[in-house]
């Protein structure tokens, strides 16, 4: 029987499951598309995990990502952490000298500044998505290529075009223009990589002191074109860790492991939850002007959680400790 810790990252685009052992090494990872059904996908992932991994004992579980609260209610998590902290923990664990962490995921991009192993500053994209994975996905589509070919294509460029990357909408119209002028796919792909990096550095990374080692992670780190563009723009090496795509899940697994080692108990409900029927239903409370949308999570016929009411009337009628999400 091998003891391990489960980390789950429920994001808007992907849901990742990770198992780490006592030495914080990854022994299992699963990358799934969330497709707007976080609970179903999470259970599907657990199901596959229990089929593929025999003879393990999960001694702690943690959740992160924008669906962390929901996932923690379903799973019974020991640690619920935001993705910024989780990413930083995982990065420092795999690259001990990390000083700058560049994270580009599906919907968010962020920069985390680490000094002497602690996070001293961070920034996240505010109101613009021109520096994220979905944007690249869309543009690859427009070029008629698969996103996995995109980076390689960019590396072949000899004469990159300059694309206005300030905003996803403008970048798209500028790209159409460049296509109509007859530029090659390689040059446009490279132009987009440069635009994304330029945009990232001037919006997200603005005013931050970028020092090496630089760790590049998140789904977009798979794109060698972007990695190269970063190296050119910063004139420094960029490290992409082995498990670059599931760093959030690793980070929160480490946190859960630390915590349960201290407390000695876990709240994890066990693998059986994959077979429990979970439902989410919502209603509008009409008792005051707030007209809150109250969400109820049901396991079979029991209400296991309620949230969304500003006054706490509904939440409070259940025994719940996590009120930060009200």
């Amino acid at each position: 029987m091998k003891t391990c810790y489960l980390g789950v990252d429920v994001g808007s685009v992907s849901t990742n499951l990770v198992l780490i052992d006592e030495n914080n090494d990854v022994i299992y990872k699963k990358y799934l598309r969330t497709q707007g059904k976080p609970i179903e996908v999470l259970k599907k992932g657990l199901n596959e995990l229990s089929k593929e991994m025999k003879d393990i004992e999960i001694k702690g579980a943690g959740t992160t990502g924008s669906g962390r609260h929901l996932a923690s209610i379903v799973l019974g998590a020991d640690e619920v952490k935001n993705e910024i902290t989780a990413h930083a923990i995982a990065s420092i664990n795999s690259v001990p000298n990390a000083k700058t962490i560049v994270e580009i995921g599906g919907q968010d991009s962020k920069i985390i500044i680490v000094r002497d192993g602690i996070v001293v500053d961070f920034a996240m994209n505010t109101v613009c998505a021109a520096g994220t994975g979905s944007f690249l996905d869309r543009q690859a589509d427009r070029l008629g290529i698969h996103i996995s070919e995109f980076g390689g294509l960019a590396l072949n460029s000899k004469n990159p075009v300059r694309i206005a990357g300030r905003c996803a909408v403008f970048a798209e119209s500028d790209m159409i223009h460049k296509q109509q002028l007859g530029h090659s796919q390689e040059d446009i792909a490279k132009g987009l990589c440069d635009a994304l990096v330029r945009n990232y550095l001037s919006n997200v990374g603005k005013g931050k002191e970028i020092l090496g080692d630089i760790v590049f992670q998140g789904g977009v780190a798979a794109n060698i074109g972007i990695k190269r563009a970063f190296e050119e723009a910063l004139n420094m090496d960029v490290i992409v860790p082995d498990n670059y795509d599931v760093m959030g899940a690793i980070g929160v697994a480490i946190l859960a492991s630390d915590k349960t080692k201290k407390t000695g108990v876990t709240k994890f409900k066990g693998m059986n939850i994959a077979n429990v029927d979970h439902k989410v239903r919502g209603f509008e409370c009409q008792d005051c002007a707030n007209i809150c949308e109250v969400i109820e999570i049901m396991a079979e016929d029991d209400i296991i959680s309620r949230y969304g009411d500003k006054c706490g009337k509904w939440t409070n009628s259940l025994e719940i400790t996590d009120r930060t999400m009200i």
């Binding site: 924008s66 952490k81 935001n82 993705e83 910024i84 902290t85 968010d108 002497d116 602690i118 996070v119 001293v120 500053d121 961070f122 996240m124 505010t126 109101v127 603005k206 005013g207 931050k208 005051c288 002007a289 707030n290 007209i291 500003k310 006054c311 706490g312 409070n316 009120r323 930060t324 999400m325």
Partner: protein
């Protein structure tokens, strides 16, 4: 005459007290809600800042409740707020509402015009009566703001933080059913007494976070997604750099001599920003410096999207962050703001502050200082 006014933090508590004391019928706009925002967004220019959108929503909801006169303060300052009264009047007229919008502006159209407006709304021609009610209303405003400050301090330390919200929610609900200065003051006192009974962890020393930025987004809880409450639940004591009572001190109580505090803020801002950039841009910079000097653990700047003065201030924040070694987080709000992303940033910021404090704590141990 049925008078209404837009929501702006606790201002409505005092405005209600003042106008009722002078014998007016007051129609309170329903608390800002998603519906308010939807109405406002639908009828306002797309690129205007968030406060105007909420104002429009407030007006429409009040007019539906029967209001026929709207009172707002004006501003000649070089920020879009100075343009609000005109723009709002036009929007309401286009929508076909027959309401009177009265602006209390600095008297550039002549003092007689201002007096005409004041006497119209206040129902009296006696300056003595107006002044007396004004002073009482200022007391209401101060007390209401103090109550909220007190609630922030209690929430950070309370063992069951939820009890604080129950009291505050009840207070705001009861406001709608009382009349005039006296009853409102009693209500505030009751809430305060109730709150001091809440059990707190006396040994817990909460970290302090200062909230800086544009005034409306700081003081209206719906607009800033209840940041005071969110931070309080994470065990943080919140201090707001601006509040309605401070605003009155700045602009009315010490007119035309400017308040002492305002001058202090300007002086603090001077090394970074010497001149006025409109809105509260200079105050944001000054307050950031003052909080940093007072040893706060971190600062959060909140601004509505497209707010020019605050963007100027935002560009100065990294320099202050470096000079004073204090983390500063900037949050931008508008009707597109997603709450979960907002919460993630706040949580991560608090994590960062906690780690910093642990780090400083261990250094103290090492060097015995």
């Amino acid at each position: 005459m049925k008078i209404t006014f837009p929501h702006m933090g606790n201002t409505y508590v005092a405005a209600k007290a003042l106008l009722e004391d002078l014998g007016n019928e007051v129609i309170l706009p329903p608390k800002c809600s998603k519906k308010t925002l939807e109405l406002g967004t639908k009828y306002s220019p797309e690129n205007i800042c968030l406060p105007l959108k909420i104002n429009i929503g407030n007006y429409i909801e009040s007019i539906e409740k029967g209001a026929d006169t709207i009172v707002i303060t004006g501003s000649c300052g070089p920020c879009r707020f100075g343009f609000y009264p005109l723009l709002e009047q036009e929007i309401l007229r286009d929508l076909g509402y027959d309401v009177d919008l009265v602006t209390f502006d600095q008297p550039q159209e002549g003092i007689i015009e201002l007096i005409r407006r004041v006497t119209k709304v206040t129902n009296t021609k006696s300056p003595y009566k107006i002044l007396r009610s004004g002073i009482k209303a200022k007391k209401v405003l101060d007390e209401a703001d103090n109550l909220i400050d007190f609630s922030n301090s209690v929430r950070a330390r309370a063992i069951d933080k939820f009890k604080v919200d129950v009291i505050i929610n009840k207070f705001y609900k009861d406001i709608e059913n009382v009349y005039g200065v006296k009853e409102i003051l009693r209500l505030i006192e009751d809430a305060r007494k109730e709150m001091s009974k809440i059990k707190i962890d006396k040994d817990f020393k909460p970290m302090r976070v200062g909230i800086i930025g544009e005034i409306y987004t700081i003081i209206e809880p719906f607009v800033n997604l209840e940041i005071e409450k969110k931070l309080g639940y994470l065990g943080i004591e919140v201090n707001k750099s601006l509040s309605p009572s401070k605003w009155v001190d700045f602009h009315l109580a010490s007119f035309p001599f400017r308040s002492k505090e305002e001058k202090r803020t300007w002086k603090a801002a001077k090394p970074y920003l010497e001149t006025m950039v409109g809105g509260h841009g200079r105050e944001t910079v000054g307050n950031a410096v003052m909080y940093a000097e007072e040893g706060y653990d971190g600062l959060i700047q909140i601004l509505p999207l497209t707010c020019m003065p605050e963007i100027v201030a935002e560009s100065i924040m990294p320099t202050i962050q470096n000079d004073y070694d204090i983390p500063i987080l900037t949050l931008v709000v508008d009707e597109m703001t997603g709450e979960s992303g907002y919460l993630t940033r706040i949580e991560a910021f608090v994590d960062l502050l906690k780690r910093r404090r642990e780090e400083i704590g261990s250094e103290d141990l090492l060097f015995g200082s």
